[in-house]
Symmetry: C2
Subunit: 241 residues, 2 copies
DNA sequence: GCAAAAGTGTTGCATCTACACCCATGC
DNA sequence: GCATGGGTGTAGATGCAACACTTTTGC
């Protein structure tokens, strides 16, 4: 089955997404395990159709893996070293290649197409992890969330891609107030603080943080949240757009 | 003469450079006028060879037009709308196309190659304008410096590309101390201030600016510069790396 | 001396940080 | 009452902007 060719997609150009989620005080990244006997991990990625913009392509790729539309998503850097070739997948696993060919998942032209050098546009996305049920792609054995501090070793420069994405996230978290994309609809200030601490990997002073966030004047105070714990109930907040 | 094909270059992917220079209190951009009867202007650009990284490609393109090596040069954004096709050049100027074909500058395959949709990686460069003698590319009638505030209307989204490059420059001028790349080897504080005023298009308070720049502790004070003017001679400074 | 521009110092305001204190809740 | 965590207030430090003043130069 001919999946890829230059009439449908732009050749040698891909998009890879660093999808950030947040849960249990940990910043997490969505990573695919490729369906091969070796343990090969990659960022969710895809290609650009001839008739769509790169932003639309990134949106499509994201929707395929997360089921979500209308997500915060932005390009942050291009990765274009000449060694960016999928050696790991398309050279060292001939048995699998054979299987794919036999099952008609791919044909020889697809393999050739995929084996070229790729320049990849890095996008990063911020999602509410509770709304996502990760979807496997064509080549995926599984798709899972990993703590950004304990990532598996991925193909090519994908680990470096996450590093750059994290730096971009840190740069803009405050500046553009994008962090709320990682939280559920309502949340307490402490939860915001714990998110910030996960992103920057450092503690913040509780009271000053509270003041700083409230002074931004972007949160709407709702009712109190009774946790059952032996202390004052914190207020819930909602992000005003 | 077959110039372009997918064995030498990556298809449908280009690099466009916003080359900033500074002279006479004006921030300038290097722009090509294309060798056609109409007035068509473009940013200097080029393609990526199969064996080189995108940074190397950008460096090569920059060197071709400016003759300079070791220049500050960084990617800043990818432009990937599906309408990014060279209509202006390759559809509305059939007479010229004929000429090129007859003279053997290009062949039909090259025209086809160039007529596709291109995704373009935007790079911006900062150069000492005095060291540059702009070189014409293959399709250029002329290459000149234009005040960033009075640019001609360029093809496709090239004006927008300059706008984004300028925003990136403004973001990093202070943060990364890259402004000194636009100045000659030695300069006065006033010259630095005038550069900043040109970039941000707003005035700065003289004495506070001086303090701020010197407090950065990156300048080395040299001898005084006697201008012949009826006032105190300013010191010259050199940027310490 | 005087005008012009360089260089330095000072004061006030806004912002950030550290510390202190009171409030609500369950046991 | 007491431990726990939420919420608010205040003093000190730091950084930036506005203003004032002195210095050097050529006429």
């Amino acid at each position: 089955m001919k999946l890829f060719d230059e009439h449908n997609f732009i050749q040698q150009l891909s998009i890879d997404c660093v999808i950030f989620g947040y849960k249990e005080k940990e910043l997490k990244v969505l990573i695919s395990k490729v369906k091969v006997e070796l343990d090969i991990y990659t960022l969710p990625g895809g290609f650009i159709k001839q008739e769509e913009s790169i932003d639309e392509a990134a949106k499509r790729i994201l929707e395929e893996r997360t089921g979500l539309k209308d997500i915060f998503l932005e390009q942050y850097r291009v990765f274009g070293e000449p060694f960016r070739i999928n050696h790991e997948i398309f050279e060292n696993i001939n048995s699998l290649k054979k299987e794919w060919l036999e099952q008609g998942v791919l044909d020889e032209n697809d393999i050739k197409w995929l084996s070229k050098r790729f320049v990849s546009i890095g996008y990063y996305a911020l999602v509410d992890i509770n709304k996502v049920s990760p979807q496997k792609g064509l080549f995926d054995e599984s798709v899972d969330w990993y703590n950004v501090k304990e990532l598996p070793s991925m193909i090519m420069d994908h680990n470096k891609m996450v590093q750059f994405a994290l730096e971009t996230l840190r740069l803009f978290l405050d500046q553009k107030l994008i962090g709320f994309n990682l939280l559920p609809e309502t949340f307490t200030i402490r939860e915001v603080q714990e998110l910030y601490e996960a992103v920057y990997d450092k503690p913040f002073a509780r009271n000053n943080f509270q003041k700083k966030i409230l002074d931004l004047d972007v949160l709407e105070r709702l009712e109190k949240k009774f946790t059952g714990a032996a202390n004052k109930a914190p207020y819930l907040y909602r992000f005003r757009n």
